[in-house]
């Protein structure tokens, strides 16, 4: 134990005197988490809080165009801005000017076409009612297609949702008109407003419930994603200091002397693991603290700490150990400082990409999704997501922790093989 303690003291001293290494391990992730969270915050707000800005040109001279605008507005998904204009060029100009994501042109004969279709449908219904058998074969007047312009940044899934929402508003306009015509043809008077409302409004409600494990509803915001994600990235980025430290020790003369002393180099490896594990815990403490206390001050959403603090600590320790094991493994196999730093930095960025730190893994498809399983960062992030967003307890994330431990075990085994092969232990 004395040897291990003295070795840890040595590693801590060297680490504290490596100011560039400390800056890389602490300042770089702090800057990254603030910058990336700030940038992503606007995107998260667009999805979670803000309505989608939509510019509408209503060329319709009848009532249906105005009704459609009201119905689109009632959906609650859009912030409708009705402007005067007549063609696609001026619409896209306005979209650009007002930062609108959507542009809709309601054709000038929309009301006429809706009325014609409603009259045709009502006539068919009456004919069916009176026993006429060939009424359905009569062609129904069609309504011209709408052109909906969108900002190319809108993702396909969101575009489908928008299309569905607009179509439901159109359906409502057409159904209302058909119902009115049918009522008039039957009763020869206008349909009472209350009845129309009753017939058209859906009574089946949808209760939206977050599928969290503790029943809480933490809305995913930029902080909830970026703080855990960049904490994991920072942990793995210790490779720049630790991998280099292993290589430096190996290629420097000091290693020759270490090999001649009656102490196994495994003591040196264990010391580095413990020292840098503490570094990763400090990184997590610093970045989480920023998320909790600094983010609200600078106008970013605060990080909501999970209920299971112990579970969060366990995940942080396991992630840190995995990161440290990876760094040492790379350091053992690298022959030069350049190899360790170059491979280390590139591999961390790749693992972060495929692990879902930069693009959430639930948005991945096919091969990318399969590859994500091979990134230790993916399992680390999944464990944090479960804790931060789904209110999971430690028992709920044991599978994630086991996956991280398996990968860590693989790194440790590789390190042992590397040290043995190079006659270092």
């Amino acid at each position: 134990m004395f040897k291990l303690w003295i070795t840890i003291k040595k590693d801590v001293r060297i680490l504290l005197r490596d100011r560039i290494g400390i800056a890389l391990m602490f300042l770089m992730p702090i800057v990254l988490v603030v910058v990336v969270t700030s940038i992503q915050n606007s995107t998260f707000q667009l999805v979670n809080k803000n309505k989608i800005p939509a510019v509408v040109f209503n060329l319709d001279t009848g009532k249906s165009g105005g009704q459609l605008i009201k119905d689109i507005d009632k959906i609650g998904l859009f912030k409708v801005l009705t402007l005067k204009g007549s063609n696609a060029d001026s619409l896209t100009h306005y979209m650009d000017k007002t930062d609108a994501m959507l542009g809709i042109i309601i054709p000038n004969n929309y009301s006429q076409q809706v009325l014609a279709k409603a009259a045709s449908s009502a006539d068919k219904a009456m004919a069916e009612f009176n026993g006429s058998s060939d009424s359905l074969s009569t062609p129904t007047p069609t309504i011209d297609a709408f052109s909906v312009y969108y900002n190319p940044v809108l993702q396909q899934s969101l575009r489908f949702s928008i299309q569905g929402a607009i179509q439901s508003a159109m359906q409502l306009v057409e159904s209302r008109q058909t119902l009115r015509t049918l009522y008039y043809n039957t009763n020869e008077k206008e349909m009472p407003e209350a009845l129309e409302k009753e017939m058209l409004s859906a009574d089946t409600r949808i209760n939206m419930i977050a599928a969290s494990k503790d029943g809480t509803h933490n809305t995913p915001n930029a902080a909830q994603h970026n703080v855990p994600a960049w904490t994991i990235f920072a942990m793995f980025f210790v490779i720049m200091s630790l991998g280099g430290s292993v290589v430096r020790e190996k290629v420097s003369g000091s290693f020759i002397r270490l090999k001649t002393l009656p102490t196994n180099y495994a003591v040196g490896i264990i010391s580095k693991q413990l020292t840098y594990l503490v570094v990763t815990l400090l990184q997590a403490a610093v970045i989480f603290s920023m998320g909790i206390w600094l983010f609200p001050v600078i106008g970013l959403p605060a990080l909501n700490i999970p209920n299971d603090i112990f579970g969060t600590f366990v995940v942080t320790v396991v992630c840190g150990w995995c990161a440290v094991s990876y760094a040492i493994c790379v350091g053992v196999f690298a022959s030069t400082h350049e190899q360790s730093n170059g491979f280390g930095a590139i591999s961390i960025v790749i693992l972060a990409c495929i692990g879902g730190l930069m693009v959430p893994s639930f948005a991945m498809q096919g091969l990318a999704k399969t590859l994500a399983s091979f990134s230790p960062m993916h399992w680390c992030l999944e464990a944090y997501y479960n804790l931060f967003l789904e209110g999971a307890q430690l028992k709920d994330i044991l599978n994630n922790i086991l996956s991280i431990l398996l990968i860590t075990g693989a790194f440790q085994l590789l390190t042992y093989v590397g040290l043995k092969r190079k006659n270092l232990i």
């Binding site: 070795t7 002397r257 270490l258």
Partner: protein, 248 residues
């Protein structure tokens, strides 16, 4: 108990992936308490032999024993017996001499009290007391050589391997190092020494061996070897044995 500090029998070694055989069937003995000099031109195999004797490299065939203990056993029993002062500065440049001695002392098997005592002694003897807490990377070459030596002897080993311990130092530092090595030898420590400073070696060594191309080409008591080859100095003998062609 073996009378030999170092006993090499039938040693064979080739660097992995290299067709060139560094040593084949090499035998060498160094008596306890000896001041033994190992000489040869560049590339002769001095440092390789030193690394084989200290267990840094593992022999393909044969054995290397230090005071009767094999250097390549897993329990590292032989490693407690010797100290190694490599040619390169073999310490942590970010640390001070005291911090380096604390770390390497612990790895050599000393306890806290022993480390403290030996650190005070060595820094005092080698003139490093005033800079004991300053980072070594600011030191001159001579000071670094003394730190290198101090670390190699902190655990008071029976045998010390010195690979060019005075290369690149000034006269004062060379004298300080040589005087200290003489003092250690007077107290019974065996010195195994390599250098290109043959005049310095004449002062220090009692027993010598010349190696070239992995073979011992002359060996024995320094006066006897010079007499046998009819030379007055080691430098003349060196040229005579190894020729004048430049070596890489």
């Amino acid at each position: 108990m073996s009378d030999w500090a170092v006993s090499i029998e039938n040693l064979g070694f080739r660097y992995p992936g290299n067709d060139y055989v560094s040593f084949s069937g090499l035998n060498l003995q160094v008596a306890k308490g000896e001041r033994f000099g190992l000489f040869g031109p560049n590339g002769a195999g001095k440092t390789t032999l030193m690394n084989l004797m200290t267990g840094v490299l593992k022999a393909d065939t044969g054995s290397v024993r230090l005071s009767g203990k094999d250097v390549n056993t897993s329990d590292k029993a032989a490693n407690r017996l010797f100290g190694f002062v490599p040619q390169d500065f073999s310490f942590y440049h970010e640390l001070s001499p005291a911090e380096n001695l604390e770390f390497f002392g612990a790895w050599a098997g000393l306890n806290k009290a022993q480390i403290a005592q030996r650190t005070d002694e060595l820094l005092n003897i080698l003139g490093l007391e005033d800079v004991r807490n300053k980072a070594v990377d600011k030191f001159s070459g001579g000071m670094k050589r003394r730190v290198n030596l101090a670390i190699g002897v902190i655990h008071s080993p029976e045998i010390i391997f010195l690979d060019e311990p005075t290369v690149g130092v000034d006269v004062h530092t060379r004298h300080a190092i040589m005087d200290y090595l003489q003092m250690l030898n007077n107290n019974g420590t065996t010195l195994i020494y390599t250098s290109h400073q043959l005049s310095e070696a004449e002062d220090l060594c009692k027993h010598i061996a010349f190696i070239d191309a992995g073979k011992i080409i002359a060996e024995g008591d320094i006066e006897t070897v010079l007499l046998q080859h009819r030379h007055e100095t080691l430098e003349e003998l060196f040229i005579n044995l190894t020729g004048k062609a430049l070596r890489d």
